[in-house]
């Protein structure tokens, strides 16, 4: 093993060596730089491997042949090695990225870069506070120099501001160092700690000054205006280094220094860190400049880690895993993002649309965003999970709330940005990216995946990257170059095979969901054969969603459940984002979903009392005082997915604007994830009271109101897909209501809805999507009379709406029948009235759907259109067949589930004798109904045909009213504002209170951000004020504590 000192000596030696090379040998000088950085990385890497695999113990490196505290020593443990590696690698990649610039600037610039990297490593390695000061100053000077590399003249101002602030910082630091030396008689951190120097005389104050100096290097809000300016103006490759390496080094320095100060200071640091995290994320919301935004994000992430550093004692043994996970994810992602920004010509966020020209870069961008947001399978995901659990274990609820709020804000602006990149901006002509830079970015992205693997291995949970389902989904990233039909076939085959293999392991409930997800998903994929070309990005996203769903239903522990939840959320987000106009809706979807997911995480953590590996079954014995809160958190989390009223505003846009075959996936299948969650919740926790209020009753109300308002809103939509989307809100409300009734039949009804909703909503979305494809519009009043042109689509819609409205003899009636039987034993009657009201409302929108599209007057511009594309019709016909079959023999699916549910409730089940299904109150014989209805219908039809067999088909306008003949379909087609009188009666219920509320919340955050960011005036002197003020305020607060 090469001693760690040579990480430093290599950097320094190479820097000096560069001076000896002739000025003209710039290329060679660059090679020397790269070689030195590579060597430094290799040394760090060898140590990392030694620590990881050879059981290597932490080593102290002595200088001067004298043992500490009399000479400076370095220390190398796992953390130091890993962070040094991070620093060196980001230096190496940045140097590679900066090749052109460095060669132009010459060897001196390269030397500065080398020394910067060396200095960051020094900050990490040294155990001596004055030596720390030296390395900090070295990093200050080299950063000051590197900022000058930027082509942006404004960088000069930024660099100077930095120097002003660092002068103040260095004054504080030196004073701290010398008085600490005086108090402890040494400069060595370990000896100072042992001597409790911070507790002797002025040592406490000295420690405070030193601490503030190192904390200042971590750029806490608000003493960080300079850092933002640097991020904005400096060369992106440098910003990458600055964010990844300098931040890492500063954090480690804080960690190192903090141990000297005793128990007073960690809470202070935690407070500073978390304040920075939340504040920077709020401020980030109103940023429009990409690099500055990244700056805010950097500050936020570093703030979070700073918070974790301060909470070291609270998080206990997981400290390194958590802090390290967030930190390396941040370092890799932020460096990657800055490198990416160097490939984008303009600084508007939407200018990143140029990345669309290169799938590799887009993949990298997605990876980086996921890394930053902490989505699975990346380190931040594992780290956040452990962090929240560790905090919950100590009842730090406020901190959990703060962290989750900050994370949600960050996700908001990052996802918004990703949406811009994918959807905004005109289609540009092709752009050539430098291969070298793309390679650097790709390396970072792959590094991120590698880290995800490592963290998964370290996590103590199952590594997500070992999950077959997820791997299969990720495989599509690799296959993405193949034609769509090949991938489609692979997807269908894969999902069917997966179902076949997993089939024996499912219990009846899982089986129902698995059939819908895997087989149902495969059925919808049939429509995918319609697509020509490669359909880039579609299959990885869709398969990611399905993988998440498949993992969800078999999850045993809260961790697996949550991981699966996040995976399916991400997949579906990408899927929804594909729609033409879907960017804002996809954003609101992901924000709501992540908010819900965070509620879940908090709920799980609360339930387990902070134990991170916790069986879902364990939810049934949650401590009584926590139980109601767990229930509320989990229920809210799940209800964001089922789009219960109040949390529903994301759904209409997301479902309506999605692609034709995506809408059925996200509506018919994805929503079931929320229902599955609610099933799980109620199965384990059951009835729970909070302050004497029965929470399942609250759920009943929410379900009922969702059903009513969802249906009511659907009635007034002009857009066919929106209508279907709102109707999903209503349908999910019904299902929620059924679950919340907490009786046998209620659950059975919910399950019936699970199946039925999948079938008819998928079918309707496909039909409507097919029609929209042909007519070029989704607005129903612009269609009409399509029945003769698109008969198969019409049949699908017809069967769909009969099933959905619950009219016998189709399967929807089964749901209604079970519903009536279920409410007979419900304890709580009032919300049932609302359900009664909302039931018939469904007829309104369903009739409108079929009438305004297929009946009425055909428009002139549609006279030549043909039936919807073959492959879109095929799955619809499958669904029609299924619906008819399911109507006759619902027992096939429901019988086993009925028996399965029986274990949760005493009595109240159905009996399945012969063809008649009997409940304690009534009976239902699907086959008889079908036969009787069919027979009557056939007889009457025959009678009519006998009488009217010669009926003559007349032309479209062969109708007469008010003594004139209509001649324009537009004026004759009664379609727009179809239920005008109804609006007069019920319009007051439709005021978008939820939208106003959420808009208000969003507006408030943006308003705060817009106002608060004016704090950063841009004046270097003011920043020095901030710095000093920050120190004083922290001092006052700490003294007050």
């Amino acid at each position: 093993m090469v001693s760690a000192i040579h990480i430093l000596s290599t950097g320094l030696g190479a820097a000096f060596l560069l001076g000896l090379l002739p000025e003209a040998w710039r290329g060679r000088a660059h090679l020397v730089t790269l070689a030195a950085l590579a060597l430094m990385s290799a040394i760090a890497l060898s140590w990392v491997l030694a620590f990881a695999f050879d059981g290597q113990q932490m080593v102290d490196v002595f200088t001067a042949g004298v043992s500490p505290p009399f000479a400076i020593n370095l220390r190398l443990g796992m953390a130091e090695a890993a962070l040094s590696l991070t620093v060196c690698l980001s230096g190496l990649l940045s140097a590679l990225y900066l090749k052109t610039s460095l060669i132009t600037q010459g060897r001196r610039a390269m030397a500065v870069l080398l020394i910067a990297v060396m200095a960051f490593c020094g900050i990490i390695l040294t155990r001596d506070i004055f030596n720390l000061f030296v390395f900090v100053e070295l990093s200050v000077v080299s950063v000051g120099g590197l900022v000058l590399l930027s082509d942006d003249n404004r960088a000069l101002g930024a660099g100077f501001k930095y120097l002003i602030v660092s002068q103040v910082v260095s004054i504080l630091m030196l004073l701290g160092v010398i008085f600490l030396y005086h108090a402890g008689g040494t400069l060595n951190i370990d000896t100072l700690t042992a001597a409790n120097a911070a507790g002797i005389g002025t040592g406490g104050l000295a420690f405070f000054l030193l601490l503030m100096a190192v904390v200042a290097e971590a750029k806490p809000v608000p003493a960080n205006g300079w850092a933002l300016d640097i991020y904005q103006a400096a060369h992106p490759a440098f910003s990458a280094l600055f964010s990844a390496a300098a931040g890492t080094a500063a954090l480690f320095a804080v960690d190192k220094v903090l141990v000297m100060g005793g128990p007073t200071w960690p809470p202070v640091v935690a407070g500073i860190g978390l304040f920075s995290f939340v504040a920077a994320n709020v401020l980030g919301l109103s940023q429009t400049h990409d690099r500055r935004l990244l700056g805010y994000s950097s500050i936020a992430q570093i703030g979070l880690v700073l918070g974790v550093v301060g909470l070291k004692d609270v998080v206990g043994e997981h400290y390194l895993f958590i802090a390290g996970g967030i930190l390396v994810a941040h370092a890799v992602a932020k460096a990657g993002m800055f490198w990416l920004s160097g490939l984008v010509a303009e600084r508007k966020l939407s200018a990143w649309a140029v990345l669309r020209k290169n799938p590799i870069l887009l993949f990298a961008f997605a990876t980086f965003v996921a890394l930053l947001v902490g989505l699975p399978p990346f380190p931040g995901f594992y780290a956040k999970w452990e962090l929240i659990h560790a905090l919950m274990a100590q009842d730090r609820v406020v901190l959990v709330a703060l962290i989750l709020l900050g994370a949600l804000l960050e996700a908001t602006y990052l996802m918004r940005w990703f949406g811009y990149a994918l959807k905004r901006g005109a289609d540009l002509e092709s752009v050539q990216f430098e291969v070298r830079k793309v390679a650097v970015v790709l390396t970072a992205a792959l590094g991120g995946w590698g880290l995800g693997y490592v963290w998964g291995e370290l996590s103590g949970h199952a590594n997500l990257l070992h999950s077959m389902a997820l791997l299969f989904a990720l495989g599509f990233v690799v296959l993405d170059g193949l034609p769509a039909w090949v991938k489609n076939t692979v997807a269908i085959a894969g999902m069917s095979a997966f179902f076949y293999v997993s089939y024996p392991g499912y219990d009846p409930l899982q089986l129902i969901f698995a059939s819908i997800i895997l087989l149902g998903g495969a059925a919808i994929f049939v429509a995918g054969y319609h697509e020509r070309g490669r359909r880039l990005g579609f299959y990885p996203s869709a398969m990611l969603m399905y993988a998440g769903l498949a993992m969800l239903i078999v999850a045993d522990t809260t961790f697996q459940f949550f991981a699966a939840w996040e995976v399916l959320t991400v997949g579906s987000y990408f899927l929804i984002l594909r729609g033409k106009e879907s960017e804002p809706h996809a954003l609101s979807y992901i924000v709501f979903s992540l908010g819900g997911a965070f509620a879940l995480m908090a709920g799980f953590a609360l339930a387990s009392g902070g134990v991170s590996e916790f069986a879902i079954q364990g939810l049934s014995d949650v401590a009584a005082e926590a139980a109601p809160w767990v229930f509320v958190l989990l229920a809210v989390g799940f209800m964001t997915k089922t789009a219960a009223i109040g949390l529903h505003i994301w759904l209409p846009g997301a479902h309506a604007e999605a692609e034709t075959d995506v809408s059925p996936m996200v509506s018919g299948i994805l929503l079931k994830a929320g229902l599955f969650g609610l099933f799980t919740l109620l199965m384990t926790m059951g009835k729970t009271q909070m302050y004497g209020v029965e929470l399942t009753h609250v759920l009943m109300w929410i379900g009922a109101i969702s059903a009513l308002l969802g249906n009511l809103m659907a009635v007034f939509q002009e857009d066919a897909k929106r209508l279907l989307a709102y109707s999903s809100i209503g349908q999910m409300g019904y299902a929620l209501f059924g679950l919340a009734m907490m009786n046998h039949l209620g659950w059975l009804m919910a399950l019936m809805f699970v199946i039925n909703h999948y079938v008819y909503k998928s079918m309707l979305f496909l039909s409507v999507g097919g029609v929209a494809k042909r007519t070029g519009t989704k607005l129903m009043y612009r269609m009409g009379g399509l029945i003769t042109l698109m008969p198969l689509s019409f049949v699908a819609v017809l069967i769909g709406i009969i099933a959905m409205s619950g009219v016998p003899p189709l399967s929807g009636f089964g749901g209604r029948w079970i519903f009536y039987n279920a409410i007979m034993t419900a304890e709580y009657k009032l919300p049932i009235l609302i359900i009664f009201l909302s039931g018939p409302i469904a007829f309104l929108y369903l009739f409108r759907l079929i009438h305004t599209i297929f009946l009425g007057q055909l428009k002139d511009e549609h006279r030549r259109i043909t039936e919807a594309p073959f492959w879109i019709v095929v799955p619809q016909m499958l669904f029609v067949a299924f619906l008819l079959g399911f109507a006759v023999v619902p027992g096939l699916a429901l019988r086993h589930v009925d028996a399965y549910i029986a274990q949760f409730f005493v009595g109240g089940g159905l009996s399945w004798d012969g063809l008649t299904i009997t409940s304690p109150f009534g009976y239902w014989s699907p086959v008889s109904i079908m036969i009787v209805t069919g027979a009557i219908f056939a007889v009457l039809l025959a009678w009519l045909v006998f009488l009217n067999h010669k009926a003559q088909k007349v032309k479209q306008f062969n109708i007469v009213f008010a003594a004139e003949r209509p001649h324009r379909p537009e004026t004759t087609h009664f379609a727009w504002n179809f239920y005008a009188p109804y609006r007069k009666a019920f319009g007051f219920l439709l005021k978008p209170y939820a939208t106003w509320f959420w808009d208000g919340v969003a507006g408030a955050f943006h308003g705060v951000a817009e106002t608060a960011r004016r704090f950063y005036t841009g004046d270097g002197q003011v920043y020095a004020f901030h710095m000093l003020g920050f120190v004083l305020v922290v001092y006052l607060i700490a003294m007050g504590m």
Partner: protein
């Protein structure tokens, strides 16, 4: 006005901290552990008479290496910054400037070698007497300053300066590495024999290191001055 008031308030706040430090400060009656160690062990371990030098060059050698690097960095950056603006310069001619005067010219010729010698003396004896590489280096640089005053247009060889600077630095690092390889640790001065306590060639590698530092610091200061003076020409 408001700004000054705020500044004053901040300074007052800072003053409170300072006051606390000042009032809480009690001078030590005896050397603390670290200092006592240096006082008693330097002679044996390092073989340098000047304890401060022993600390600077050996015990805290890493600091000093960093310090030298700061200077190196600054010199490099100043060069970088100023060379950027200098790009495409049109060098002024000698005739544009007033002559420096006979006194200065002759004084320079007389003094420069002496100053250089003195500087070398200071850094070579750094382990014995007060002084050392930095002081010596600064003295060396003053000779260059004198030369620049005499002839502002003298194009001192950047190349030479930078050669000296870089090779001194490189050797410094090499010695450090040798210390790690041959003796107890990085920058251990005992790669050379400690010699007789108090002699010129004693204290192991300290004189060598100090000489390198002296050269390096001299070169760096010179390079900064040269860079600055050249920009001033325009």
């Amino acid at each position: 006005m408001v700004k000054k008031a705020i500044a004053l308030a901040l300074i007052l706040g800072l003053g409170l901290i300072f006051a606390a430090l000042l009032l809480g400060y009690a001078p030590d009656a005896a050397l603390n552990e670290t200092a006592a160690y240096y006082a008693t062990r330097t002679a044996d371990e390092i073989g340098a008479q000047n304890i401060v030098t022993a600390i600077i060059v050996t015990y805290r050698g890493l600091d000093t290496l960093g310090e030298v690097t700061v200077l190196f960095l600054t010199a490099a950056i100043v060069g970088l910054v100023l060379s950027r603006t200098r790009a495409g310069d049109n060098a002024p001619r000698l005739s544009d400037l007033p002559p420096p005067g006979e006194l200065l010219e002759i004084g320079t010729k007389l003094l420069v070698p002496l100053i250089l010698l003195f500087g070398a003396y200071v850094f070579i004896n750094g382990h014995l007497t007060p002084g050392g590489g930095f002081q010596g280096g600064a003295i060396l640089a003053s000779a260059i300053l004198l030369m620049l005053l005499t002839d502002p247009l003298r194009r001192s060889s950047h190349r030479l300066i930078s050669r000296i600077e870089s090779s001194a630095g490189l050797f410094y690092v090499v010695i450090g590495v040798l210390g790690a390889a041959l003796a107890g640790g990085f920058l251990d001065n005992r790669i050379l024999p400690l010699g007789e306590f108090g002699a010129l060639f004693s204290a192991g590698a300290i004189p060598v290191i100090y000489a390198l530092i002296g050269l390096k610091v001299g070169a760096e200061f010179s390079s900064m001055m040269v860079s600055l003076s050249e920009t001033e020409d325009e």
